[in-house]
Amino acid sequence: MSSEPRIVEVRRNVLKHNDQVAAALRERFAGANLFVVSLVSSPGSGKTAFLEKTLTLLKERGYRPAAVVGDLATANDANRLARSKAPVKQITTGTLCHLEAAMVDGAIADWDLNELDFLFIENVGNLVCPSSYDLGENMRVVLLSVTEGEDKPLKYPTIFHGADLAVITKTDLGEAVEFDRAEAKKNIQSVRPGISMLELSSKNGQGMEEWMKLLADRYSDVRQK
């Protein structure tokens, strides 16, 4: 004899395990006065060049940055970033299109976080999947290169909506590709009203000073807490 089905309310986040690991990471980061930035973008938008420049400039200014980079197959990005002399760990995700909090947790396991000021987490180049996963970061940065077109934010609204800062990269190429800055910024604001935006070139250094200032300000906020 079968009884009537009954509905049991559950209300649990599907990614609760990831959320728990991310929350624990966030607590550890805060305890170590570490400011953590994650980077998301499509492949080829200049994440690694931007990060290499960022690590180098931070080191020049006496900060202690480190980076974790996610990639599907190679360790090329980590090798490039190692030129900055900052500690770098590669997470090779295989076929997985995004980083999860547990992977970050594993990658930083043998680092003493108290010895660091900044941690950068470079996600796999992908504008869809990384948006679902909290990595315990303080700030999520989405990159958009001028070569990608002004309407990218409208095509991938979720990743822009989940970000805290939008960075337009490769501005040195803007003229060559007839990049419409005003249109791109309008589209970013349409998807994520009020988001902070920066325009910069890792190649010629334009805008990098503003980025350094933003990092220094956010870092001192973290220290004061």
Binding site: S3, N13, V14, L15, N18, P157, V191
Partner: protein, 115 residues
């Protein structure tokens, strides 16, 4: 495509809940999905077919309820829909919105159980 990972997490969380309920038979999983969750409904449904095979959920249906975006509009001083995910402003007064109330859900809402 990360919907397969999402489905595996879903079955994981559902499995914990079923165990808590004393391991009854599960007829259906009810999922709430918001447009800001970064998950595609169709991809989720087809991934689910793969994920549930050879699990206790092999015959269990996945029912997805799509939750619309609701924001708190500071000008209207109330909860409002937005024009679209691309045009994130209040449908009443066109004020750009930054406070999301609904739309991020990726939530196991309920289970349909047979004792």
């Amino acid at each position: 495509m990360h919907e397969l990972s999402i489905c595996l997490s879903l079955l994981d969380v559902a499995g914990e809940e079923v165990e808590r309920q004393g391991n009854p038979q599960v007829e259906a999983i009810y999922l709430k999905l918001g447009p800001l969750a970064g998950v595609v409904k169709e991809a989720l449904l087809s991934s689910y077919e793969l994920a549930r095979a050879a699990t206790p959920f092999a015959k269990c249906r996945l029912v997805i309820e799509e939750v619309p975006i609701v924001v708190f509009c500071s000008k209207c001083n109330g909860e409002r829909p937005v024009h679209s995910i691309q045009n994130f402003s209040c449908t009443e007064c066109d004020t750009p919105a930054s406070e999301v109330i609904h739309g991020r859900e990726l939530q196991l809402a309920a289970l349909e159980l047979v004792e």
